[in-house]
C-alpha cells in the first residue's frame, strides 16, 4: 500500500468534518453525481463540490424503498437511501446537481426535491451526437453556470474558470498516467486502489488531491510495488461506488487483477483534457461530451464498443467482467450484443455480474468469478 493512498484514505475520512467547518464559515456545499457534471464549473463558483459516489452497502438501498419501488438502478437507490443515514456528504449538501442521463438518475433528483429542503438542479446530458446535441449541452452548461452564480452569489470569472480547467486537466493527466502504467505486465497498482484513487478525487480537497497524485506517480514510477499480473481483467459497468469493492476482492482472491475499467459513474473521464481555445465553456462541453469513451447511456453504440475493444487490446486483457446494478436498463440491454461482438472480435470470455448491494450475493458471485478466472488463458 502506497503512503499516498493511505493518506488519501485518511483525507476522505476527514472530509465530512471539513465540510461541516466550511459550511459554518458560510461556504455552500454542492453535491453532484460525478462523471457528467463538469467539476471545473462547480469549483470556479466558490462552492465546495462533493461527489455523491458512496455505495455498496445494503442499508441505504433498503431505506430507499421508503421512497421508490425496488425497480430502480441500485446505485441510484443507494444515493436516495443515504438521505436517511448519517453519511454527511449527503446530509451536508445544500445544492444537488443531477445529470439526467436516464430516468434512474432523474429519480434521485425528484426524491430529494420532494422530501428535503435541498435545492435540486437537473442538468441535461444528450444521448446522441451531432450539432443539436452539442448546441444543447452548451445551453445546459450555461444554465448550470447561471444556477451556480445565483446560488453562491459569486460571478464565475473567466480567469477562475481557466484556473480550474488547468487544475482538473492536471488531475486527469496524472490519473491517466497512473492508469497507463497498468499496460505493463508488471502492474504497479491494483484495480481496487485505482478505483479508490478515483473515488477520493471526488471527495478530497483538490490541492491535497493533486499533491498526493503527483507524489504517487513518482512512487509508482519507481516500480517497487509492481506485481506480475497473469490474469488481466477489464471491468466494465455503469457505476462503481466508493465502498463497492467486492468484485475487486473476489477477483484478487481468485488470482486475477483488474488492470483497466470503464465506469461513467465512479471513474474520472481522464482520457482527454479540456483544450483551452477560445470559449472556455465550449471547450469544457467538448471534453465532457465528445472527448471520452461514450457510456452505454449514449444511444448509438458503435463508437463505444470500438473504444472498449481497442482498450481491451491495448491493456492486453484476458477477460472481461461486466458488473452492473440491477435494473440498470441501458447497460443490461447493451450487454446482449456487446457479448456477441466481443466473442467475434476478440474471442474473449465475458462474465456478467449483477448487484443489488446485497450481502448474500457474495457467495454465488465468488463461485462464478472463480470459475470464470479458471477458464482464462494468461500469464
Amino acid at each position: 500500500m502506497y503512503g499516498e493512498i493511505e493518506k488519501l484514505r485518511i483525507f476522505v475520512k476527514r472530509r465530512p468534518a471539513e465540510l461541516r467547518k466550511l459550511k459554518e464559515e458560510g461556504k455552500k456545499i454542492v453535491g453532484y453525481l460525478p462523471g457528467f457534471v463538469p467539476e471545473e464549473i462547480l469549483n470556479s463558483s466558490g462552492a465546495v463540490p462533493i461527489g455523491w459516489i458512496r455505495g455498496g452497502d445494503p442499508e441505504p438501498v433498503s431505506f430507499s424503498l421508503r421512497y421508490v419501488p425496488r425497480w430502480i438502478d441500485t446505485y441510484c437507490k443507494a444515493q436516495i437511501g443515504y438521505k436517511d443515514t448519517e453519511e454527511e456528504i449527503y446530509t451536508l449538501t445544500d445544492l444537488l446537481i443531477v445529470p439526467v442521463v436516464d430516468a434512474n438518475m432523474r429519480g434521485i433528483g425528484d426524491v430529494y426535491d420532494l422530501y428535503t429542503d435541498m435545492d435540486v438542479f437537473r442538468t441535461g446530458y444528450p444521448h446522441i451526437d451531432g450539432g443539436p446535441a452539442e448546441k444543447y449541452y452548451l445551453t445546459e452548461l450555461r444554465a448550470l453556470v447561471k444556477k451556480l452564480e445565483d446560488f453562491t452569489g459569486n460571478t464565475i470569472h473567466e480567469e477562475k474558470l481557466r484556473e480550474e480547467v488547468n487544475h482538473h486537466n492536471e488531475i486527469n493527466k496524472l490519473m491517466r498516467e497512473i492508469s497507463l502504467m497498468r499496460r505493463s505486465d508488471r502492474v504497479p497498482i491494483t484495480g481496487r486502489e485505482f478505483a479508490f484513487l478515483n473515488h477520493s478525487s471526488f471527495i478530497v480537497e483538490k490541492n491535497t488531491l493533486r499533491e498526493n497524485l503527483e507524489s504517487l506517480v513518482e512512487s509508482l514510477k519507481g516500480g517497487e510495488g509492481a506485481k506480475k499480473t497473469e490474469k488481466r481483467i477489464f471491468l466494465i459497468g455503469s457505476s462503481i461506488a466508493m465502498g463497492d469493492y467486492k468484485v475487486y476482492d473476489l477477483l484478487k482472491r481468485s488470482g486475477a487483477e483488474v488492470v483497466i475499467e470503464d465506469f461513467p459513474f465512479g471513474i474520472r473521464p481522464y482520457w482527454e483534457e479540456v483544450k483551452i481555445n477560445g470559449d472556455l465553456i465550449k471547450a469544457i462541453a467538448q471534453k465532457y461530451l465528445e472527448k471520452r469513451i461514450p457510456s452505454a447511456f449514449q444511444r448509438r453504440s458503435e463508437k463505444r464498443i470500438e473504444s472498449l475493444i481497442s482498450l481491451a487490446k491495448e491493456f492486453n486483457v484476458d477477460g472481461i467482467v461486466y458488473y452492473i446494478p440491477m435494473y440498470q436498463d441501458a447497460y443490461q440491454t447493451q450487454f446482449y450484443y456487446f457479448e456477441k461482438i466481443l466473442r467475434e472480435e476478440l474471442g474473449m470470455p465475458i462474465l456478467k455480474l449483477e448487484t443489488d448491494y446485497d450481502v448474500m450475493e457474495i457467495g454465488p458471485m465468488e463461485t462464478r468469478i472463480e470459475t470464470f478466472v479458471e477458464t482464462l488463458e494468461g500469464g
Binding site: E59, S62, L65, D358, V359, M360
Partner: protein, 257 residues
C-alpha cells in the same frame, strides 16, 4: 340474533360469533390445504363455544385470503376494512394498525371516526411475515414458535441480519451460527429484521397514535419490542390479536342482519 365473521388467512382460519355487540365465542385453527374444510371446522368450533348452532346465525361475512371459498358465508368482503373495524371496536383510540399475519403484513391508517384512509400491504414476499419467523425458528431448531419471542428478549448483543430476503436470510443465519453466534443473539437479530422490513412497508402510511399491533405475530413480545424501537412509538396489542379480522367481519355482518 347472532352473526358470524369468518377470516380465512393463508396460515390460520378464524371465526367469531357476535350478538348485539357482545362476543359469544371464537375459534382459531390452521388453514392447511383445504380451505373449505378448515372453514367448516373452525365454524363448528366457534359455534360450540358460543353454545349455538348454524341456524342461529342471521348473517355471515367471510374475509381474508380465502374469503371466496367459504360456501356458507352470505357475503365476502376484503380484509383491510374488516381489520380496522375489529380493532376500533376493541381499542376505540386506534389511529393506525400494523398487522403481521402468517403470510402477509399490512399497515392501515384510520381517521378519528374509524374509517380507513390509507393502507399498504405486502403479500408477495415472506420477509416481514410470520413465515419468516417460522423458517428461522426451524433453522435454529428452537422448537415451538411461541418460544422465540421470550428467548430473543434475553439477548444483550443482537446479531445483524442484513438480508431482506427470507431465503437468503436463512442461509445467512446458518452461516452466522457456524461462525459462533449463539441462538439467542441470532433470534434477536431476526426480530430486528422483521421489524425493519415491516416499518419500511409501513412508511407508506402515517403511523398515528394509538398504534395497534395485530395478527398472530403480535403475540410475539420481541417483535413488538423491535417494532416499537424501530418506530419510536408504543404499540398496543389487543388480548386476542388474531381475531380482529373475524371480529370486524362479524360487526359488519350486524349491519346486514
Amino acid at each position: 340474533m347472532a352473526v358470524a365473521g369468518v377470516d380465512v388467512g393463508a396460515a390460520t382460519a378464524k371465526v367469531l360469533i357476535l350478538e348485539s355487540g357482545e362476543i359469544l365465542g371464537y375459534s382459531i385453527t390452521l388453514t392447511g390445504a383445504d380451505i373449505k374444510k378448515s372453514a367448516d371446522k373452525v365454524m363448528e368450533q366457534a359455534l360450540q363455544k358460543a353454545g349455538l348452532s348454524k341456524s342461529d346465525l342471521k348473517f355471515t361475512i367471510s374475509t381474508g385470503y380465502g374469503r371466496n371459498f367459504v360456501d356458507f358465508a352470505d357475503r365476502s368482503m376484503s380484509e383491510i376494512l374488516c381489520h380496522a373495524r375489529g380493532v376500533k371496536f376493541l381499542i376505540p383510540s386506534v389511529g393506525s394498525i400494523i398487522d403481521i399475519g402468517g403470510q402477509d403484513s399490512k399497515a392501515i391508517e384510520l381517521e378519528e371516526d374509524g374509517r380507513v384512509c390509507n393502507f399498504v400491504m405486502n403479500d408477495k414476499c415472506a420477509a416481514g411475515t410470520g413465515r419468516f419467523l417460522e423458517v428461522m425458528a426451524n433453522v435454529l431448531e428452537v422448537g415451538s414458535i411461541d418460544k422465540i419471542g421470550p428467548l430473543a428478549l434475553k439477548s444483550r448483543n443482537h446479531a445483524r441480519i442484513s438480508n431482506t430476503c427470507t431465503i437468503f436470510a436463512e442461509t445467512e443465519v446458518v452461516s452466522l451460527r457456524a461462525q459462533g453466534w449463539n441462538r439467542i443473539d441470532l433470534l434477536a437479530g431476526i426480530h430486528d429484521a422483521i421489524a425493519s422490513r415491516v416499518v419500511t412497508m409501513a412508511s407508506g402510511i402515517r403511523l398515528k397514535d394509538d398504534a395497534v399491533f395485530t395478527g398472530g405475530v403480535a403475540k410475539n413480545v420481541a417483535v413488538k419490542k423491535a417494532l416499537e424501537e424501530e418506530m419510536g412509538k408504543k404499540l398496543l396489542v389487543p388480548d386476542e390479536p388474531q381475531i380482529t379480522g373475524a371480529l370486524g367481519a362479524a360487526l359488519r355482518a350486524e349491519g346486514f342482519a
